[in-house]
Point group: D2
């Protein structure tokens, strides 16, 4: 179910980007283009948060409860990395 929802949202984003392509082809006003690009970014932010939430409830729990300290460390470090990236994009 979660996978279906993520797929659906990504396909909406893909269509949205296609719509912006057509706006550029039709010489839309620059600011309207910027607003649509920002709407796509906001949709991607929601998708990211959802993917992270799924990740925390599956892979993270397994890694933290598992026996392998390197695997646990890797999973924790990845979360900090994507958070760091999120504050930069």
């Amino acid at each position: 179910m979660d996978k279906d929802d993520t797929l659906q949202r990504l396909k909406v984003v893909e269509g949205h980007v296609g719509g912006i392509v057509r706006m550029v082809e039709n010489d839309a006003y620059c600011i309207d283009l910027l607003r649509q690009v920002q709407a796509v970014q906001a949709a991607l932010n929601k998708i990211s948060a959802k993917i992270l939430d799924d990740h925390l409830h599956s892979c993270l729990i397994s890694a933290v409860r598992g026996e392998d300290p390197d695997e646990r460390e890797r999973v924790l470090r990845e979360i900090t990395e994507v958070y760091t990236m999120a504050t930069k994009v």
Copy 2:
């Protein structure tokens, strides 16, 4: 030329999002998905900056040099608005 470059970049983003759809269908690792979504966001940031730059060199110059104070005010306000949105998405 600028328009062609923007179109080309947007089509690359559209294809990139399609690639993420296939990654989700193939049950890719969550963190790899997040990294790809962030790469799309970074590409969209560059496209936005380019659209803004084109806008400043055309519509903004016309509006600031033009006779209509309301039009000038509208164009300046829009720039602050997209900047404000940019710091939130």
Copy 3:
């Protein structure tokens, strides 16, 4: 007046950061710290938007209407640069 408002907001931010220092000294819960840091970032976003708006209504108008094409180009380029940075911080 605008300057006074910006100064006032910056001093509030300075005090807010001082408050976070005390929270860390008192071993506050990590997530509460993160929320306060994010509140500071949101306040800084508003201050930035205000400074940009003042800039557009003064320096930008002068540069666009002025005689010096290099100066105009510099001012336009700076706006794109701060926008680009804004999408990354």
Copy 4:
């Protein structure tokens, strides 16, 4: 040690904001102000990432290994929340 490092970084940020106050008082160029505000934001991003990393290695591990499913759920949800906020500020 981690706490000392976070405190040190926060105090640097506090001093940096105080420096921006003085720049405004001295009528510094708007774009220079914006760049300094963005430098503060970048420093706060690093502090946030550090606080999150500490949190993952302490509270999160305890909650995921603990007996209380509500507590675990709360801690996981908080991480998604701060990530969501991070993509918006």
